[in-house]
Symmetry: C2
Subunit: 239 residues, 2 copies
Amino acid sequence: MKLHAMLKKDSAVALVSGGMDSCVTTAVANEKFSLALLHINYGQRTEKRELKAFTDIASYYGVPEERRLVANLDYFSKIGGSSLTDKKIDIPNLIVGACFKPAPTHNEIPTTYVPFRNAQFLSIAVSWAEVIGAEAVFIGAVEQDSPGYPDCRQVFYDAFNKLVEVGTKPETHIKVVTPLIGMSKTEIVKKGISVNAPLHLTWSCYKNNDVACGKCHSCVLRLTAFSDAGVKDTIPYLL
Amino acid sequence: MKLHAMLKKDSAVALVSGGMDSCVTTAVANEKFSLALLHINYGQRTEKRELKAFTDIASYYGVPEERRLVANLDYFSKIGGSSLTDKKIDIPNLIVGACFKPAPTHNEIPTTYVPFRNAQFLSIAVSWAEVIGAEAVFIGAVEQDSPGYPDCRQVFYDAFNKLVEVGTKPETHIKVVTPLIGMSKTEIVKKGISVNAPLHLTWSCYKNNDVACGKCHSCVLRLTAFSDAGVKDTIPYLL
């Protein structure tokens, strides 16, 4: 609160997974708000590399330690039902940012799906936002990444904003903002460039931790988006 | 899923803190549903004793291990702003069950308040409910415990149910149920007796872990409620 009072701009909490979407979302938030960055470890396979990307992005924006929050959730693997946290289940496709890649056939539910995951993440973000007096919560949800997916649609965020309205103190006016919700991956790269997002610090590969494989579904999507946007992706690739 | 299919009754997830309200709520849920019990550790001062109460209640109802979920959240103390998780802040009053006792003057916000806490707990419960195919989530929220408190009012649970409706798969119909929301503490004791809730296994004292002090705000409230209901409280008291 004291810190917030000293800051010139209003504050916003941005959820930063370490992927491209959350990085661009953070860059958009940074244009109008003083940043507070939230990262969530929930036993996902690439947890360590994603945490490094989060730290790098936070440092890039000069976010002080007290405005960074890393939450550790141990229960996702206990809840199970997702290849994302259960190593016994194969990953056919993967998460980037706040939503899920579609399965090869769009009617299938990918095994990476964790029901109501974004409600959990947003609830933590709103709780922190209320404590530090932030005005907004930014999340890099992308509807196109997961057609039909309940927690990646605008209607879900509208309902969440109503919950925030009745579930927080009357004097607060926290809004959940989804600046990328209607964009394609290529549009996200272009947007990232236009707002100087540090895309070189993000990580998308789900196989490697040091040099991206360039072959996995996520790498291919990313490389295609950069190529379509006419921009060079400067992270290291094996290929 | 397999387990659920074998059960005769529909399943419900009940949030069990180990206090009286959540115990009675569990007993109400048990009348119509097959129980799955969720307990959340979030660095609260009486964490260990509450966990024991959870385990005792789960055993009383014969809930198998795979239908018990203990979630550990480490970030509450990092978010701070609450005497509940920050030992530097005094506790003037305390939590029982899912909501907060009023401060001595009802207009004050008690330091135990953790913004949007119930949204976080419910999100975990709904996520688990979707994975195990449960039909309902039971929470022992009591409006009277916390007049004006955002996340203990019926309007909050109505908004949460709308979020669940749009945020879970179309084929699911999970409802959040608050059977005690309008009750007084005395009515809760009476209800507990009528549904055979194992109140002797619950814990309310926030000072002691073995023998209740009988003097703290929570003990006094509990003893008064039992006395008004004309029922003997059989947990051990110092007095």
